[in-house]
Symmetry: C2
Subunit: 423 residues, 2 copies
């Protein structure tokens, strides 16, 4: 028995092989959930699992779980992610987590290592939400956060349901949803942001997923001639939208920490050069890892929006488009990721995830954490998404070490003091 | 011979009769330049002129001039405006100036009054510019500001030319463009703004047309994930657009006077809630009656835009969409309007025109001025455009008095001291 090692060439080859399926002419991948390309990607992945003698289970929402047996019949340590992509996606988002899981199994087999607990590699259905909403659908259903019938009844923009597409592509399985219970979950993913690259670090030890608050504001003012309406008599909907956007940048600076604020979408009516806008509809995307700070940002946003609207004599209303509380990963699993990262001599930092991931769903039912590797230029959901091969290798090796430690640990549950925090 | 008087009922009836042509189901008028409805409106107006025994001349750009003879063969005093409308226009914009001119002729005939100089009523082609650009096309060609062939070659969005449409509707005439010379020009128009109504005044004595500066800015930043890009690493095109909009409101307050500033159009790309905008295209509409102040506002705008772009690390470029220097009307004609308004006991103020009008073109070739009446709610280019009948009557009576004074004055040219300014 040798020490199991990630084979970077083999991992890269598998990423490129899966990336051929749904490949776009100019690079990148279009493998929308439950499309023909997704079916082909699933077929390819299931074939890899069978080649590794894994048991393959498919549940009613199309989640695929491949299991490599342990020496004992215990709940499995699960790794995984998703293989669906946005319309113009890259090779790594999701796929890297799934294929690294298979590479871990391959490396264990190669080294003749069978851990105490089974090792499960999960492919969750429709993580991206690019075709069917909500995103993270498969993992949400898996943990009981969304009733299966509701998920199956969800339709895409053409009115085609998840149920119909699952049946069409042959991936509505019979395995019970969310069973058996999982011992613990670790997801390896590209960062999808610029932080690790900017800081020159190799690994992100992900402590949690930040909370998200999306609000859409509608400002209703009075349309008028830009040349004949004195400034003092205006009720300019566009101005209030602009004021809120400027305020949010200042607010994020004032709140500091990890407060993010983005006004990414604005629609004016009538949107003409010489007409004062009657209406402005705009969105505010707030994120914070701290629940109280996120609530404070929301409160400050609404107070300012009301005040700005009143000063301009316009009406403002808002509706919540999305709201997720921050998720904190299990401190013991996070500590384990940090220990193994250190043991491998990788540079790293503890950090939150800015984007949502299947791991935040699994965190509801078992101790979970994530490992990040750098994204070149911070690009993601983009055909130019890229991570250097050495970074891909390092991330997968960390995953392997963490999974082995979890699978081989003596107790069935993670004791609170099993992995001491680092100094 | 009695003193000529405007007949409000007759004037109103003519406004409603013309308003039937191109009438919209829910109220208002759609009589785009050189459309079938425009032809029908022209036919109706020419028929009215002939009923008044006026000579009708139509030039090569389709301007219609009806002339009521004077006792002497002198250059005519001209009144007029346009009868084309925007797609969702009202009954008064333009039409009121033309039909008041015909009502003046009717009242003179009724009273048996023939002034010394001829009285011309002009209908200028395509003032609105809603179908063919530039706006004020007919009057611009009339005064030699745009070569006739250029105007005729102009095409609408469907590629149909002014020339083709003039021929199709039978309004490409043979009268020489811009001949004979005009003695003086007075245009009666609804204010298209809220100022007179807000101040409770009956007449606006229009001293000139404010200058206009339209600029389109393009900001190019970097598209990135709203959840994973730290605030300090952002290059947010939308933020810079918002900052400029907020700055322009502050700048107009700081410059004071008659400085107007409007950001009416904004387009973001990709315009998604969770993506930092890569691109923002927005417009700034600046207006001022003072040429130097307008130039200062432009200069401050560009300086701020550059500074904001630099601070955010984005590229900003701009192009001028339109630029008109302020027009000052002839002080003697303006004084005459003021005197006659006072003589009729009307409340009034001297004011600039916020919108462009044919009068600003005629001002290039003869002493000119305008008379405004209130617009209810300041609404214009709107099916709800409205002016009270009493206001319509008062405005037309002022026009009649001014025209009579101009037409009967002894000297051919307006002597500089003929009409002394009021205290």
């Amino acid at each position: 028995m040798t020490s199991p090692q990630i084979n970077a060439g083999r991992l890269l080859a598998s990423l490129h092989a899966l990336g051929q399926i749904g490949a776009l002419p100019g690079g990148g991948v279009n493998r929308l959930a439950l499309s023909d390309a997704d079916r082909e990607g699933r077929d390819w992945t299931v074939a890899r699992m069978r080649e590794l003698s894994m048991r393959v289970d498919i549940d009613a929402i199309g989640n695929i779980v491949g299991t490599f047996p342990g020496t004992e019949d215990l709940p499995p340590v699960m790794v995984g992610s998703h293989i669906d992509t946005v319309r113009t996606g890259g090779l790594y988002d999701g796929n890297y987590g799934v294929l690294s899981g298979l590479e871990v199994v391959t490396a264990l087999r190669e080294a003749g290592v069978q851990p105490r607990r089974p090792l499960a590699v999960a492919v969750f259905t429709n993580e991206e939400g690019a075709r069917f909403q909500p995103d993270m659908m498969g993992s949400l259903v898996y943990v009981g956060g969304l009733p299966l019938p509701d998920a199956l009844a969800t339709c895409d923009a053409d009115g085609v349901s998840v149920q119909a597409e699952l049946q069409r592509i042959g991936y509505q399985g019979t395995a019970p949803v969310g069973a058996p219970l999982v011992d613990s979950y670790v997801e390896l993913h590209i960062e999808q942001g610029p932080v690790l690259e900017q800081l020159g670090l190799q690994i992100g030890v992900v402590e949690g997923v930040q909370g998200i608050s999306w609000t859409e504001f509608t400002v209703e003012g009075q349309s008028n001639h830009a040349g004949t309406t004195p400034m003092a008599l205006r009720h300019d909907a566009a101005l209030v939208a602009a004021q809120v956007a400027v305020f949010m940048r200042a607010l994020s600076a004032r709140l500091g920490g990890r407060q993010l604020a983005t006004v990414g979408a604005v629609r004016l009516s009538p949107n003409l050069v010489n007409v004062i806008a009657q209406k402005a509809v705009f969105t505010v995307d707030l994120r914070n890892t701290d629940s109280a700070a996120l609530a404070q940002a929301e409160s400050d946003l609404h107070a300012y929006a009301q005040q700005a609207a009143q000063a301009e004599g316009v009406r403002i209303t808002s509706r919540t488009l999305a709201r997720f509380e921050p998720v904190a990963f299990d401190p013991m699993v996070v500590n384990l990721v940090e220990q193994q990262t250190q043991a491998l001599g990788c540079t790293y930092q503890r950090m939150p995830s800015g984007a949502g991931h299947d791991a935040q769903m699994l965190a509801r039912v078992c101790p979970s954490a994530m490992v990040f590797v750098p994204s070149v230029g911070g690009l993601s959901h983009n055909v130019r998404e890229h991570t250097a091969p050495a970074d891909l290798q390092r991330g997968a090796q960390v995953l392997l070490q963490v999974v082995l430690a979890l699978a081989n640990r003596p107790s069935q549950l993670l004791p609170l003091n099993f992995y001491a925090p680092l100094p």
